[in-house]
């Protein structure tokens, strides 16, 4: 039950994009079309869950025993970069369809703050292993949910008469603000 609450909290209440402001660059960059945002979202779920597991293991079994917590940032970004590269090579070899669907989004993920942010939050909240898996998968799903909803809105915005100065990113940010307001309504659902 606690795990369920954790998942719902991570998807709706503390949505990584709209409440914690992580991963906004891809949010504005690749959300112009519904299909690309689905691809990006799935790639983030995949990589964030794997990255969380590996960084958590590295933190608790390598950095902590040797008192090297201060090097956390450097270690995590290296693990994420290596993992992304590995996933790319593995997918290319094993699954052509999955690679074609996710391939072009993978290099972008290394510098996606959502992935790095989730791995850092795992350490901050002192989760155990099961909680790490649930929390990271749920947070990344929250990212996917938000980016897909947002892409739907942006496709409509594209054909609506927006004032000239507000076209493009400006109106996208205002729309994101209104969406964030809607997600604020979930506050209080979980403690």
């Amino acid at each position: 039950m606690d795990l369920l609450l954790l998942a719902i909290g991570a998807i709706f209440v503390n949505n990584i994009l709209l409440a914690q402001y992580l991963g906004n660059c891809p949010f504005c960059g690749v959300s112009k079309k519904l299909s690309t945002s689905v691809g990006m979202g799935l790639a983030v779920v995949f990589v964030a869950t794997l990255a969380s597991i590996f960084t958590w293991l590295a933190f608790h079994y390598i950095l902590k025993p040797y008192n090297m917590e201060f090097i956390r940032t450097l270690a995590f970004i290296l693990i994420i970069a290596a993992l992304v590269q590995f996933v790319e090579i593995f997918l290319k070899k094993q699954s052509k369809t999955l690679f074609n669907a996710l391939g072009i989004y993978l290099p972008l993920i290394t510098t996606n703050c959502a992935v790095m942010g989730i791995t850092l939050l795992n350490i901050k909240y002192e989760f155990n292993f099961i909680e790490v898996v649930v929390f990271s998968a749920a947070s990344a799903s929250g990212f996917t949910l938000a980016i897909i909803l947002f892409a739907g809105l942006r496709e409509r915005l594209f054909i609506s008469p927006v004032p000239k100065a507000m076209q493009g990113t400006a109106i996208a940010l205002v729309t994101a603000g209104i969406m964030s307001m809607a997600f604020l309504g979930f506050t209080g659902m979980v403690k």
Partner: protein, 203 residues
């Protein structure tokens, strides 16, 4: 490009985060007060100047294929330094900024400048570019932070501005306020550029 051009381009022409639309996460997350915004801006400025310097020094040694990985390692080293200095000398600020300090590593502005400028320009010019972009970023974050703090809490640098009768517009320091504030500022900037007939409008 001359030094003057490089020093000035970060203040209007390529002003982050508005013109470049990179580094949005810290611009939204830590601007709930001007103090946080400025602290974050200065931390990013430090990292930018020195990452540009190191990358420019090593630009002929780093192999082209693995350059992104090399850049990230250099940037991460600087971020670890910033993290430790902040914890030692500015503890309350570092508690406020929390995970957003380690997240400077994945701030796209820094990697963007490394890739677009430092990897193909001499050392001093690259440092000037880092300084210019960094100051632009600090000013933008301070502006957004001021607007949100004044409207959302009725204070500026923690000093009460309107007396006790003022009912703070709390929406502005929550998440939606950040998005709205940034979007409207970007719109105003576009309107001004359009009026002056500049060709650098962000779409």
């Amino acid at each position: 490009m001359s030094y003057k051009q490089v020093l000035l381009h970060g203040l209007w022409k390529d002003l982050p985060p508005f013109r470049l639309v990179l580094g949005l996460c810290p611009s939204l997350a830590v601007t709930s007060s001007i103090e946080n915004g400025m602290g974050m801006g200065l931390a990013v400025t430090f990292v930018l100047i020195f990452s540009n310097m190191m990358i420019s020094m090593l630009r002929n040694i780093i192999p082209d294929k693995v350059r992104i990985a090399c850049f990230i390692v250099l940037i991460a080293t600087l971020v670890v330094i910033v993290e430790m200095v902040m914890k030692a000398f500015f503890f309350p600020l570092s508690q406020q900024l929390g995970i957003y300090i380690p997240l400077i590593v994945v701030n796209c502005i820094i990697l963007g400048r490394a890739e677009a400028f430092a990897s193909r320009n001499p050392v001093l010019l690259s440092m000037a570019d880092g300084l210019s972009i960094g100051i632009g970023f600090t000013l933008s974050l301070s502006l957004v932070g001021s607007i949100r703090e004044i409207l959302g809490a009725g204070t500026w640098f923690g000093i009460s501005l309107f007396g006790s009768n003022f009912e703070p517009f709390e929406f502005m320091i929550k998440a939606p306020g950040a998005f709205l504030c940034l979007g409207i500022l970007l719109g105003l900037m576009n309107a001004y550029s359009r009026k002056r007939g500049e060709s650098i409008i962000q779409t």
